[in-house]
Symmetry: C2
Subunit: 436 residues, 2 copies
């Protein structure tokens, strides 16, 4: 039996630095659990100052990723540079060399997951990607192993900490989106260009990975309907509260009649749901299995050490394969190669859920009757109405909560309603999850 | 490669019946993930009517557990009869025959875990026990693999659904313990003899298992301080709420200066903590890792199908070992055999936390001064006081919340206080977790 596992690391940014620290600080507990030492053999980064800050020796630090990928003393390659290129080439080269890979690169897996999974299977080298979703939360391991006996019925994830921080602050303090975004940038919770986070792209990347391994189907980022939180207004958060709901940016996947629903959008959730109480930068993934029932996994979805926790736990998992001389024990994509099947993704038009609608209408008698008439003709029935302001002749909000309706009908109805003389602004619509 | 895994089941009670159903209903998803069929070869139970209800064929049903343990067609033995005897003998015999075992038997593992773990290591046959803690929640797998890179700092578990159901009802409806217990029995949430559940014994069994694998130390049920919820009164729940706390039956394990804290008792938690919001029969385990930070795992802690989910997920895990021809990949007790070490368990007297105290005092001037004087002389400082009733000469409650104090000092101080003339009933004490 080997007495040590050699690690090569590509990328010494936030997470990479966390991994270097964790391998050092927790060497004791890691070897006590694993029965072997895990040693950092090489670490590559173009920026030498990062290696210096970590006090990496000259033997370990290199500018050249090939020194990692082609190094015979390295058993596992960790890729933490992010982005598509050259990360993809590094990963494929490592796999081709028979070296297992651990990565946190959700964007890459969401766009090129099938190519990477195929290479993993072809060369018999596993790929660990626990760190790609939910930071330190072991959700990938749970789906691949802990709840593997289940048909997974649905997944609801708060899997973007930046958006959840912003929505939490908007909710608790009644502030505007832009105002809180500026604060999040100053605190380092949002990047200078926050598009990926606030427009739902990052959680859609993660949802692609979760849906892939939950349902045994290739599904990529472009298949997922994506809508962010930049248009959410404090007044809609207030009305949500009045109706007993909270607004969260949810990543949702469901299997219905052999079709996959996969969508990311602001969602109203009953405020007494446990996942509605997940606030700030925290992440949570709520999973419903046919045997398990509902379960929730909660924790820090980002940050150097929580993400390093997931990376190094994958290193331990793969090291266990290496130490017993067998790999490919658990399929890289959770289902055995020949047992995955392409499922179609339901277009957003066909999705059925409840809807929150805020109309801006002139305060005339009969307006609500016109609105409800059009909704009714599109098979949309109203569950409750809030109409506070009374200000004859000027525009007032009318808030409607519907029963379950089909998105296509909702769009058609709203096009008609927004064309009425008495409607003075585009209607705001937010999808609602929970009992119909 | 083997194309099928033979399963032998001992015990066709609630969970055993759930396992039979799950192996049948989810055969598709199980074989798609595993790449092999999992087949029930034999199922033993003394009560033939259970086999009949499940429509088990005569080939499969047997009254004799030896038909399972000694059957050459059986690769994995599932023990679901519970209790110490003959469950222990069945498990040890199966392991001696080289057969891996899956069990939900927390009482047995909490009392005889070391003997079973040793046999597992000696005979090279794994033991899966995901179902022993938290029903379908994959917490054992998380500790052994998903967060394995961490030194675990603390664990806080709501791991007895019966107690959590009773406390939730008492809290929401202001009802008495006995009244809700009767209801829980009628609903099947409590057994006819509810001692194990309401006196904290069942969660202490589970805590022994969690602490064992989290800290790599043999720790058994008798090492754990255990106190139940049968003395909790609605008025203490009301005062807790007034102070911003909820009362939960918590199983707590911490590693402090090389010593383990392990205790189960009613605990006041700040009501805004996520785990304080886990209500009804649900379970949750809140774990703090040094890299991970806080994480929480939530789900159904009991019931036929959630528990069967954990059992069959263990079957899949062990089947993966069998299919690749290697076992013992992950140590049965999470740490490698030679790397576990006996840690001492801190006696409850040395535990330090905050305390809630409800004194019953005659409404004389100077009573609070006497109480606070005695507390002060025992190094216990007061953080807040509630004194509502004013009824000169009769007994009124005085509620005190302390800062961090040591249990030994608290006991000494209360013995003195309860001996005062002005104190007319035994003081109620509840431990508090949260910021000091």
């Amino acid at each position: 039996m080997k007495s040590g596992i050699g690690i090569g690391l590509i990328g010494l940014g936030t997470v990479g630095s966390g991994v270097v620290k964790l391998l050092g600080e927790n060497a004791g507990v890691i070897s006590r659990r694993l029965g072997a030492e895990v040693m950092l053999v090489k670490a590559a980064d173009l920026d030498a100052s990062r290696a210096k800050a970590l006090k990496l020796s000259k033997d370990i630090y290199t500018k050249n990723a090939d020194d990692v990928i082609n190094n015979p003393d390295i058993d596992i390659v960790i890729e933490l540079i992010g982005g598509y290129r050259p990360a993809k080439e590094f990963i494929l080269s490592a796999l081709k060399n028979g070296k297992p890979v651990v990565t946190a690169n959700k964007a890459l897996l969401a766009m090129h997951g099938e190519e990477i999974f195929s290479a993993s299977e072809k060369y018999g080298a596993p790929v660990g990607f626990e760190a790609s979703v939910g930071g330190g939360i072991p959700i990938i391991g749970a789906i691949k192993q802990g709840i593997a006996a289940n048909n997974i019925q649905s997944i609801y994830g708060i899997i973007n900490g930046t958006s959840n921080y912003i929505l939490t602050k908007m909710t608790d303090e009644g502030r505007e989106f832009d105002d809180v975004l500026d604060e999040a940038k100053a605190l380092g919770y949002a990047e200078a260009d926050p598009t990926f986070d606030v427009e739902g792209i990052d959680p859609a990347h993660k949802l692609a990975i979760l849906a892939n391994i939950a349902y045994g189907t290739p599904i990529n980022f472009p298949d997922i309907y994506t809508e962010g939180i930049s248009n959410i207004l404090p007044e809609d958060i207030r009305y949500a509260r009045e109706l007993g709901f909270k607004i969260k940016l949810l990543a949702i996947a469901k299997l219905k009649d052999g079709e996959i629903e996969a969508r990311v959008h602001p969602t109203m959730l009953p405020e007494d749901y446990l996942i509605a109480k997940v606030d700030g930068v925290f992440n949570a993934i709520y999973v419903v299995g046919d045997a398990l029932g509902p379960a929730m996994f909660y924790g820090r979805g980002a940050g150097d050490m929580p993400t390093a926790s997931a990376v190094v736990s994958d290193v331990i998992d793969i090291s266990r394969d290496i130490l017993c001389g067998k790999s490919g024990r658990t399929p890289v994509a959770s289902f055995r190669k020949g047992n995955r099947k392409k499922l179609s993704v339901m277009p957003i038009d066909k999705v059925r859920c409840r809807y929150y609608m805020r109309f801006t209408a002139l305060d005339h008698p009969g307006v609500l009757s016109k609105i409800s008439g059009i909704l009714g003709r599109h098979d949309i029935s109203i569950s409750s109405v809030i109409q506070h302001g009374r200000d004859a002749g000027s525009a007032v909000p009318i808030v409607v909560m519907t029963h379950g309706a089909v998105e296509r009908n909702v769009r058609k109805a709203l096009a008609k309603i927004d064309g009425l003389d008495v409607i003075s602004a585009k209607t705001v619509v937010i999808r609602v999850e929970g009992e119909e």
